[in-house]
């Protein structure tokens, strides 16, 4: 698992509440990513980070924000959860910019 831990693994929350998902890595890799996975859409990039306090948007960033205040943690926040954000969220890290990505086990988020 390349030292990646996602928390929580499962969460049910109500519409309109804020939610923060955490990705923690133990190996000080520079590149970290948040993806969501939905049936028929595969894995879609939400946000990514290329260093502490350096982040950028992916293809489905609306409704999400991220923060990376230290190398080992990359946080994904849903400021006001909606039912369309019900999904499985995966964190990934890359050792170098052009290398394979290693994925966490995923967080299943349900917004009711």
């Amino acid at each position: 698992d390349a030292g990646i831990t996602q928390s929580p693994r499962h969460k049910v929350t109500e519409t309109g509440t804020p939610v923060t998902l955490r990705c923690h890595q133990t190996e000080n890799h520079r590149y970290m990513y948040w993806y969501r996975q939905d049936p028929g859409h595969g894995l879609r990039l939400i946000h990514y980070s290329y260093g502490v306090k350096d982040t950028d948007k992916g293809e489905v960033s609306d409704g999400y924000s991220v923060s990376r205040s230290k190398t080992e943690d990359f946080l994904l926040t849903l400021e006001s959860a909606t039912s369309s954000q019900t999904s499985v969220y995966f964190c990934a890290i890359r050792i170098r910019g052009v290398s394979e990505a290693f994925f966490g086990q995923g967080t299943r988020l349900t917004v009711v």
Binding site: D1, Y31, G40, G42, L43, E59, V98, F102, F103, Q105
Partner: protein, 117 residues
């Protein structure tokens, strides 16, 4: 290899046969490609990669072919086994985005491989 609507493309093969999974990519500037395997309830796992200066790369029982002319990638699995049953994704690295060395990895929608004993 690209999905239509909500249904994944599927490939069903007999145990011991060879499997070929296809993927079309969109970005002609992509310089690096990866194949992932995802089993139910797990995160994607790396299988094999290839850089854009190559057209073929072989691993253990797997071969990836890259055709840059038509922007096509394929994964060949030799002597397919029941444990190979999973969803397979191709991914492309879009190279440098404007403003710096930021590396986005974009995934295809996946193909479901089912191996019949």
């Amino acid at each position: 290899g690209e999905s239509v609507g909500l249904h994944l493309p599927t490939l069903s093969v007999q145990e011991g046969d060879n499997s070929i999974i296809n993927c079309a990519y969109s970005n002609s500037a992509s310089d690096y490609f990866i194949w992932y395997k995802q089993e139910s309830g797990k995160g994607p796992q790396f299988i094999i990669d290839i850089r854009s200066n190559m057209d073929k790369r072989q691993g253990q029982r797997v071969t990836v072919l890259l055709n840059k002319t038509v922007k096509h990638l394929s994964l060949q699995i030799a002597a397919t086994q029941p444990g190979d049953s999973a969803v397979y994704f191709c991914a492309e690295n879009g190279g440098f985005s404007s403003g710096g060395s930021n590396y986005k990895l974009t995934f295809g929608k996946g193909t479901l491989l089912t191996v019949n004993p």
